[in-house]
């Protein structure tokens, strides 16, 4: 966007994306993952309920289908990112001392990404298993 240098308005500050330097990015990511979660989590809940009484062999047999494995992994990616964004807001609302807040924000990312890694690895391991 071209701004007339003679017309400096608060837009100049806004283009720095505000105090968090990320603008409305967090909000949009929260909504985008929320929309994605609706079908993907629906599928995930269906998968888990379908396998409530299954043996391990049944679960692995289902995961051999690439679409099943991929939908689950995409669902997990969307869910854990949504979760991380959501808890970040809770942390920022209630924790105000710097050290506590930044520790909590870091742990939040560590928790969500670790759980995603474990779940995605588990699914891929079973999907690729003979």
């Amino acid at each position: 966007m071209i701004i007339d240098p003679g017309m400096k308005t608060p837009l100049k500050k806004v283009k720095g994306f505000g105090a968090a330097k990320s603008g409305t990015d967090h909000f949009w990511q929260q909504r985008a993952t929320a929309v994605a979660n609706l079908p993907l989590v629906g599928f995930m809940v269906g998968f888990v309920i379908y396998h409530l009484n299954s043996t391990r062999a049944d679960v692995i047999a289902s995961l051999h289908h690439p679409v099943v494995a991929l939908l689950l992994i995409m669902g997990l990616a969307s869910v854990f990112w949504h979760m991380r964004l959501g808890l970040q807001v809770v942390i920022e609302d209630y924790l105000h001392t710097h050290l506590t807040k930044f520790t909590a924000l870091a742990l939040n990312i560590a928790y969500a990404t670790s759980l995603f890694a474990v779940a995605a690895y588990s699914i891929l391991k079973m999907s690729f298993a003979p």
Binding site: R31, A34, I49, L52, V79, V90, A119, S122
Partner: protein
């Protein structure tokens, strides 16, 4: 109230605290959306545990399946699905607001009731179908 040589501090009106408001369904549902979100954040570890167990071994997976098959495990799963559906419907409610619609007081009241009643009905329906199909 701190007193100084100038005398008592002026009694200025305080902004109303949250606890003086009569609890309303809409504000209860607002905080419930956050609480269910945090609960799902913690509960998601159960899902990961289940996947990891299936990837691990037959004996470990059987143990985890037995835990969720036990009545206590089933109550946890039932609660989990209610919390999930409630949060999902709450999210849809927020989408309506994001579109700039549904801000009339009557609409807000209607939506929070639909959220609560809908989540309970859908959870029961889900489990009726789950048990109906599997047995």
């Amino acid at each position: 109230m701190a007193e100084s040589k100038q005398g008592a501090r002026a009694e200025r009106p305080l902004s109303p605290h949250l606890q003086i408001y009569r609890p309303m369904l809409s504000m209860t549902m607002s905080i419930t959306h956050r609480i269910t979100g945090v609960a799902l954040y913690g509960g998601s570890i159960l899902l990961v545990w289940w996947f990891a167990a299936a990837a691990e071994s037959d004996s470990y997976f059987n143990m985890v399946q037995a835990f969720f098959g036990h009545w206590l495990g089933r109550i946890i799963l039932f609660g989990f699905t209610w919390v999930l559906i409630h949060h999902a419907l709450g999210g849809i409610r927020h989408f309506v607001w994001d579109m700039g619609k549904g801000f009339r007081l009557s609409s807000v009241e209607w939506m929070v009731r639909a959220n609560l009643i809908g989540s309970i009905l859908l959870t029961i329906l889900l489990w009726v179908v789950a048990y109906g199909v599997k047995s």
